[in-house]
Every structure is written in structure tokens, then in C-alpha cells.
Symmetry: C2
Subunit: 425 residues, 2 copies
Amino acid sequence: MERLPGFRDFYPEPLPTPDVWSADARTYLFDTWRATARRYGFREYDGPPLESLELFTAKSGAEIVGQLYNFTDKGERAVALRPEMTPTLARMIAAHERNYKKPIKWFAIPQLFRYERQQKGRLREHFQLNCDLLGETDPAADAEIVALLIDCLRGLRLTSEDFVIRLSSRNAWQEFFQRGTRNAERGTGEYEFYQVIDKLEREDAAVSEQKLQALGFSLVQVKDFIAAAKPTEELQNILDNLAARGLADFVKIDYNVIRGLAYYTGPVFEAFDKKGEFRAIAGGGRYDNLVKLVSGGKVNLPALGFGMGDVVLLELLKVRGLLPKFDGGVEVVVVVEDETLRADSLKLVQQLRESGAVVEYSLTPAKPDKQFKRALELKAAFTAKLERSTGGALAVKFKNLQTREETVLAFAALTRQTVCGLLAK
Amino acid sequence: MERLPGFRDFYPEPLPTPDVWSADARTYLFDTWRATARRYGFREYDGPPLESLELFTAKSGAEIVGQLYNFTDKGERAVALRPEMTPTLARMIAAHERNYKKPIKWFAIPQLFRYERQQKGRLREHFQLNCDLLGETDPAADAEIVALLIDCLRGLRLTSEDFVIRLSSRNAWQEFFQRGTRNAERGTGEYEFYQVIDKLEREDAAVSEQKLQALGFSLVQVKDFIAAAKPTEELQNILDNLAARGLADFVKIDYNVIRGLAYYTGPVFEAFDKKGEFRAIAGGGRYDNLVKLVSGGKVNLPALGFGMGDVVLLELLKVRGLLPKFDGGVEVVVVVEDETLRADSLKLVQQLRESGAVVEYSLTPAKPDKQFKRALELKAAFTAKLERSTGGALAVKFKNLQTREETVLAFAALTRQTVCGLLAK
């Protein structure tokens, strides 16, 4: 039986074939994301992978349904596997925001889903780090979020040689749009205009020109605005804040970025690899009206955040040779040479594990050299072997497989402290 | 907008209302599970939350569909949100087992789903630790799995006063069944018989008696067999192995346990709270034929494992008062007293975070006593404040909020080492 198209299996390393995904690399990614978000004072939350369909259509309109993994459940409800986390966050915040001090700084690592019929070979799920900050309008909040994004990537050993954050502004584009539109037409065509800008780098120039003309603009006009790259006061604030942190090298103004989703309201940004070989690594921005929209007007909180997927990022780390080598981290292999000592060896295994050590041993009798070879394969730090002294007392002989140094300790006197000392934990 | 019935939101502590779930308690549970499984040399894997419906019906028959969260996807495939992890594991192992040394020791923490129409208020999803060992028939493997189960619960500070593993055997029941059945009837009614035993403790005695009589047995006969609790040689091996590890107090023979699922073949077990207030905390056993079945006969590997859900366990830990107090773990709150030092304070925030510290600060200007009060609320270990000396150089004043001890360091001389030393990291 096969897995469904577009879904992934995650295997422990070493990987059986290059086309399966590494569970260890995923753990490395999640651990780095979590540790970085926590250092920034962000707290973890989670919601259901399945939500009412209307949670996702309310803010984006019905046209999004074509890309959703939606279906009707056994209770005749229209539901969808979540395509993004922000609506769930807005729902959760709207329900209980009074109980949390502002600003609220939360993160989650949800699995997200989509289902587009035509795209063969395209993934239908991915994991995404989501970091959001709610209850603060000051650009200091935008800078905090962008700094966190930068440090999530730096934590994975990516440098300013590898990536850059392209910072832009929906406000700046909105002003541009309104300046160029006759009063009578204000408000119409705005979202369509953003869509043209969002596709500018991927679409044929003639097509963009045609669409812009239809909206009363010209490509030259748009290109000039992008080329000037004049930061708004808000964006300058964010740049200054990041410079104070020593992060100026990681960010630049780039009005090519505008973000596709309808709900953004202020500064927006995307992270790209500098060689331009990959799609965006991450993206986000302000969405000051979304919580109000999702809560039906009950809760009004300014908000901003970003999402960073696992697929592009893992591919980038792989290509750049930045993924660590993964093994099981076995610290001690207990070798049973004398089968009359098996019960005592099990006691030793248990004691070492209770001291915090990662311990392996052969479940059944095996030749000592085979057990030793297995310890080398597992890249274990130590072997440990019970030996009976002439007096009858048991001793544990630890062998450091790197230095070949041996340490013999009385089994009866073995403590958590001696074990931790030996393993330098 | 509301979340779907039977699904959970996980919030950071302190919880807004007692009826929402704690993301921090979930993290604590997952971290403990992961650390324990790793100490036992188990490696993490994962598969898709969505699989072909037939993966789950192949081994259990079509009657299971009534309890599945199944639907038809946009590509007209019959699919289901996974109700258990073992079929996915068997599928993954069958695809790539040649590339892994035996025994294979893997774990996963999947979210699992079910949909039963009539049950109001019942959860439709939960998380479950799954630990499985493949490629070993010796009872030493069963003992290793049961020891891991015990240590997962001990890691959560549960003791032999709190829980016990009830160990049983499908083999023993099979022998009992075959002894009591005339030759001509052998093989028929066997699964039905197991179902009666599985329900024995929950069902009315008269109903059980009636069902047993129909199968050619009597309730007295069954009760006598359970009361004798005579371990098979295999079970005795497991008991001896666990006793050698010092875990004898955590396990007892109890033939009331037989496990509901069809695929078990040998020793089976369940973990229960000793006061009998909750449903089973965990359960598992041998399923030596499942990999063969799922792989269509291509791969034949003996296997066993257990599953431990988050719902009953979190409830038990809560009632027994064994959940730790959770906070954000903030280590340093940087206080900005002098707004002319804000840029330098941001540099300090950045440097402390890069040294590994969890750091909070006020994004916007606030009265110093308000910032200090916030540090106390966050239960921060330290405050840090920049001060300009008469010579113009900047100093960092750290204040330990427990001892009120102050440490002043030159900002220019602050290193990762001094930060780690101060925070005792």
C-alpha cells in the first residue's frame, strides 16, 4: 500500500533512499525554531488541523476554496484541513485575549495543507513556523518580529551571505495607488493592483503592463517607484531598530514585495536566498484588521507575524551543506560478554538510562566482537561491560571509543553523578 | 467563529479558563516522552496524518469505518485521518526495512483522529506516543518495550503507587480457546471470544455469560482461568527481565487484558492507574503478522509496540497534582530607564539572546517601575539595565530578583561566557 500523493514520510537517518525525508533534519529544524522563539519570549500554542471552511473563506473570499483541502464531514459540516495558521490564531485570540498581557507573543509549528488538482508532484502538506505579535502598533513590534525571523535563520547557520529580508510596505503601495487613481475610482481595483505587483517578478512584462494599464497605471511608473526604494518613516524606524541590534546587513527595502494575501495592512516582508535559486524562505507582515474580522467585530487588536515553511528551508540547508550529520546519539553500549551476567547487565542498562544516558545493548546473546562492532556503527561514546572480580564483586569497565581510555568502577558504587561525570553531561 | 466539536485549542499558561488545554503541559509531556524514548535508543519517525482508507480497513475489516474520520478527497480517493499509527509504521517499514539494522526501534508522537456520530462531547482527536520494536521474537524485546513504557510514566513522576502494567497473553487465551473448543469448530468464533474477554470488566455478567455459552464456554471457566493468573513461559521471561531491572513492582499478570484490536499475536499489556479511576493509560503488545499483511506478503518482520495517549495521562497528572508550574522561563528583562539609551538597550537585548538567554523588554517607552513590575510578573531571574558612567562608557547592571544581588559589568566587555556564568547556564 502506498502513501497518498503529495504527502511525506519522515525516516530516521541514515536515510534508506535520497527521496525520503529526514525525521532528524525535521527535528533539528523544529528544535532551532523553538529555541529561538523562546529566547525572544514567544510562547507556544496550537489549534486543530481541521477547522470550519468559513474560517478560511471569511477573509479571503470563496475563490480560495479551489486551493483548500476541504470536504464535508460525517456531520454534514463544510470543513478544511488548515492551509495557514493565522485564522486559527485570530480565532483563539478573539476568544480569550482579555486574559493575556499585551503584547501577546506566540508561536506554533503547524502542519498545513492544500489541494490543487492540476499540480502533479507538488506537495500537499508542509510544516510552518508561525510567530505572531498582537496588541502593538509601534514599528518596534515589526522590528522585533523581523529580528526573530533573522535569528531563526541564523540559528540554522545561515549568514548574511546566504539570505536577505526584503522589506516593503502595503501602506506605501496604497498611497501610490491612491495618488494614481482619480478620486471617483478610489477603493476599486486596489486588491487587483496588489496582485499585479505581487506577480511582477514572475509574470511577463507585457502581461503586467496590460493589467496595469487597465487599472490606470503604467509599468514604467511602477518600476520607477520600486527603483527609488524610498523607505516610509515606518520602514526607516524598523531599519534603525534592526541596525541598533547589529542586524542591518540582513535587511533591505524592496518594493517588489507586497504579499499575496488580502489581509495585510502595513509593513510586509519576505526572506530570500541571495543567489535567487529558491522561492521565498519566509514571509509576513502586519494584519491589523484580521482579528476584528474573525471575531465579528468583538475584538480589535493590531497584529503582525510571519510564516516560515520547512520545505524550501530544508532544501536550501541541504544544498548549502549546512545540515549537521545525524545519528541516534548513543552514549553507552552495554556489552554482555558473560551470559550469566545478563540479569546484572540489564540492571546496569537501567541504571545508566536512569542517570540520563542514551543506552543500547544486544537484546539477545551475541558474540562480543559483534556487540563491539555494533557500538562502533552506532558511533557510541562508550562501551560498558560487567566483570566479576576474584572476590566475587562486580565491576563496570567503561571504554571511551575515541580515546580508548578505560575506567573501571565498582558496580555497587556507581551513582548518577559518576555516570554524568564520565559522560561529561 | 467556533472550533469544530471534538477538537482542542492549546493555550500558553496561565490558562484563560479551566476548560481550555495547556500547550505547556503538552510540551512537557512530549519532551518527557521524547527524552525517555531516546535514552532507550529509539529513533523518531513520522508519516502523513491522512492515508488511504484501505490501509486501516485491510487489517481490521470494513466495520471499523464507522469510527473513522474518513471522506472522499477532491481526486475521488477514499481517505481517512489516521485513527492509529501502526498501519503507517508497517507501511513505512515494509517499504524500506532492508536499509535498517534489526531490531528497529522507532517512536512517533502522531495526532490521531476518529469520528463517531452519536458521542456528544467526546474528543475526535488526541496525541499518542507510539514506540515500536521490529525484527526480534525474543521476549527480551517485549521486556524492553514494557520497561520503556514504565519509564515514560516514571519520567512524569508517577510511581508504582500510581500505576501498574497488567500483562497478559493472546497466546494463553488462544490455547484456552482451542482447549475448550471441539476440533471441528477450531478457528471459528476465536475473534468473537476475544471480544467477550476484552469487554468482561465493563459488561454485565449475564450478557458475558450468554455470549460465552454461545461460543461453548462458561463464565465460571473463564473467571477461574483469570483468577489462576498462571504466567506462560514467555510472560515469566518478561517478568524476570523486568525484575532484573528493578521494575518488578510496576507489573503484574492479569488475564482480564486481551486488547480489542484484531492484529495482536503474543504478549499484550495495558497500563492502569491503581485507583481505577481512569480508562487505560497505555496499551500494546505483539503483532507479528501485521507487517506481512500490510506489505502484501513481501516483508515478514515480528513486531511489538505500545501507544500512550495524552488525554487520560494529562487528566491523571492533573488530578494527582503532578504537573509542574509553567511560565515562559524568562531569564532577563532588559529595563530601559533612559530612552536615549534605547538603541544601546536593543543591542544588549540582542547580545543576551545570542548568548542563549530568554529575554523580554518593553517594546515602547514605559515607566521604569512598570517595567520592573512586569519583570516580577514574568518571574524573570534578572533585570538588566544600561547606565552611562561619568566617563561616558556604558555599564550593564544585572539584578538577581530572588537574592536582590546586583552585578555591574562593562557593556563593552560583556561576553557569552559572562552571561552564561551569571545565568548559571
